[in-house]
Amino acid sequence: MGGSILGNRVLRKEDPKFLTVGGTYVDDLLDEPLLDGALHVTYVRSTVAHGVINSIDTSDALAMPGVRAVFTGADFGLEPVPSNFNPMVTRTLLAMDKVRYVGEPIAAIVSETREQGEDAAETVIVDYDILEAVVDMEAAMATSTLIYDSAPNNVVFDTLVLGMPDNTGEAFLAGCEVVARGKFLNQRVAPCPLEVRGAAVAWAADGRLHQWLSTQHAQGAHGPIAAMNGVDQAQVRVRTPDVGGGFGAKIGIYPEELLLGPISKRVGTPLRWRETRSESMMALGHGRAQVQHVAIGGKRDGTVTHYQLWAIQDSGAWVDMGAILAPFMTRPMASGVYAIPNIECRTTSVVTNTTPIVAYRGAGRPEATAAIERAMDLFAREIGMDPAEVRRKNLIPKFMEPHTTAVGQTYDVGDYETALDKTLTTADYAGWRAKQAERRARGDARQLGIGVSVYVEITGGVGSGEEAEVEVLPNGKAVVYTGTSPHGQGHVTAWAMLASEQTGIPIADIDLVWGDTDLTPVGSGTMGSRSLQQGGNAVFVVAGQLVEKAKSVAARLLEANENDIVLDKDAGAFHVAGTPALSKTWADIASAEGGISAKDNIAVPGPTFPFGAHVAVVEVDTETGKVRHIAHVACDDAGTVLNPMLLEGQIHGGVAQGAAQALLEEVRYDSDGNPITSNLADYAFISAAELPSVTVVHMETPTPRNSIGAKGIGESGTIGSTPALQSAVVDAVSHLGVSHIDMPTTPEKVWAAIQSAR
């Protein structure tokens, strides 16, 4: 027996294809027979942030070369559809009466080539009455301009309506020796999967609709596509080709994707649609976008006793998932890793004339962590204590039984102090502090900043389990069907490892099927760091069930008692205990049965709570404000590790996106609601040159909530790194009198903070 494959650094099975011919993304489906003769769809988009549509003139576009059709909402008789997250708010999938953000789709052009579509889009004339653009989320609550008449004050969600208590203001902090306050912007950022959105549709001769979609959740799109086309779900097949990243922004289905079926039906040909990056920056959902009013109070000895947070969440111009992240992801995690006896947290979500907010890597938890971590820094500064020490003093002590915080959230297991200690030691925190002191003493232009964060987050909050099927074919090879949906995470390898561990079938002989509603009709997709703990767990358990099923077949074939049959995983064969010479391979068993499979939906008892600590070190040029990220240590405890190589890859990517938010990236609008960061030259998508290598500290505290012991790892790196970086930047100039700099900590903001502190 070679021992368990689990926990090993197994190279990815999927890589040779990506490295030699590239993935097959939706725009690469050139050989798909159903898409023969496909025309191209180009959407005409609003150039106005807020306005009443008087008329849409498509006549010039219709006359352009290669244009087959142009459709407006009126052509389809589109009716307003309610938001899933606030049914009082409705919109049509193509704007008809009103536009609410720059980039909102207004009309669809069908053309023979993509170039012709782009040419024709420029000739559609839309006449608007311009309305006041509501861009700032706090201003949105104060203005008389309503984006939706059904949303007074532009508020679309408030924890008060859930019966959660309001914040009590100053009275709450009355007994505190020390109080620190802040208003923090957790700025709007763009998810920027490197592959933008794309889709293709075809109505087959048998009347079924086939739709290919660059998505994180084909099953979630299945019902809405069927409903949009007025057909039964069985008449729709959604398939997921390779997906070039999602980061949360490809969870939901968008109007541009829903409309393809009806347009295809109308023109009678298959269709392809791929947005440009410039479109994507305006019409793929954005992330974060919270203003946080924070107050923290406690004793001079460093004990934090009170924490108050009012998070105002920008929902953008629609009520998408972003509207509920603050109440259902930020609020529950308000306490972070700290034992704070008194917490008040209200959240208010508002609409603005900006791109809708959706989930983005971390989705509500980075915001919670940033708020409490910044607050801890302010508190530490107020009492003159080292920020790492203030944190240690207030950490929830190690717990291996569920722990419930003052805000009512129950965590599974946690050992925060060990994570902090390991990280500080590995980072040589004391050493950096000494170097910092030297530079401060010398008055160097380039100062060091050290930022510490300790965090806990919630993963697997989406879905209560997952479906898996494991099938062994007569040739002895296996196929795993999963309801999760990889787009970079490495499921093809990881799920094969899990199935191989149970069955002994080599991972090279195990294929994975996902994201196809004919073959995997049930699934909750990949989001919220749920895949391994729910989807992987299901594969692991179901593969075990298959082994049991195979044992009964083997018993029959070997004419033995089922209880005496054992699986020799090295040989991939079953035999009676003690007589290995006479055995039946998986191929024998599958052949006897014409294929053998097991399928089940495996429930988990609840989400898990990965935690960790990060130390970021920056060098700040105090003359210019420029920040250089020079070192980063990350400890992210995701429970039992299946494949450390994949785990580290998730941490590295998470850290980079977190650093990007802290240092560089921000989606910006002018006061009229025009986007000014709508391509990758203007939007500061972080590159290799702005990042250091990351030191990963391993720590494994298994969760009891699944059979593997795994928690999520997809988002932790982002959640831990962002506040560590922001804190490091502030720390570098704190001796000059600076106590806070909003993200992104761009050079001018850092410089201005130094100037105003002087």
Binding site: P16, F18, T20, V196, R277, H652, G653, L680
Partner: protein, 151 residues
Amino acid sequence: MKITVTVNGKTREGDVEARTLLVQWVRESLGLTGTNIGCDTSSCGACTVHVDGESVKSCTMLAVQADGCSVTTIEGLANGDTLHPMQQAFMDNHGLQCGYCTPGMVMAAISLLQENPSPTEEDVRIGLEGNLCRCTGYHNIVKSVLAAAGK
């Protein structure tokens, strides 16, 4: 317009509109879809190919400009089942996740090492300034390139 281009060692002829970008021609007319398009502004490098042996963003070059040139795409690197050393280094070091930036990244990395066979980590990071990746945080990409340089 008629063009003749040597692509991955084979002579390919095309009849293109003047405005056709090299990346479009390679993908749509030749069916070499390994090369991807990630932006509109020559920023992301997903479309990087080699033209006459040097890395170029094929979204910022007209197909007609490549007339008479030699173009190498990701599909032209491996020798049968044997990966190019850079491809192998990306495989061994988990230098890719979703795979979308990967073809361009590999092509840029090969060009980088041709010009600087023994780069430092900083050389690699700056040398890849024109290639964006959203998944890996670049850590394992840099590691891959340094590993390939060590061979």
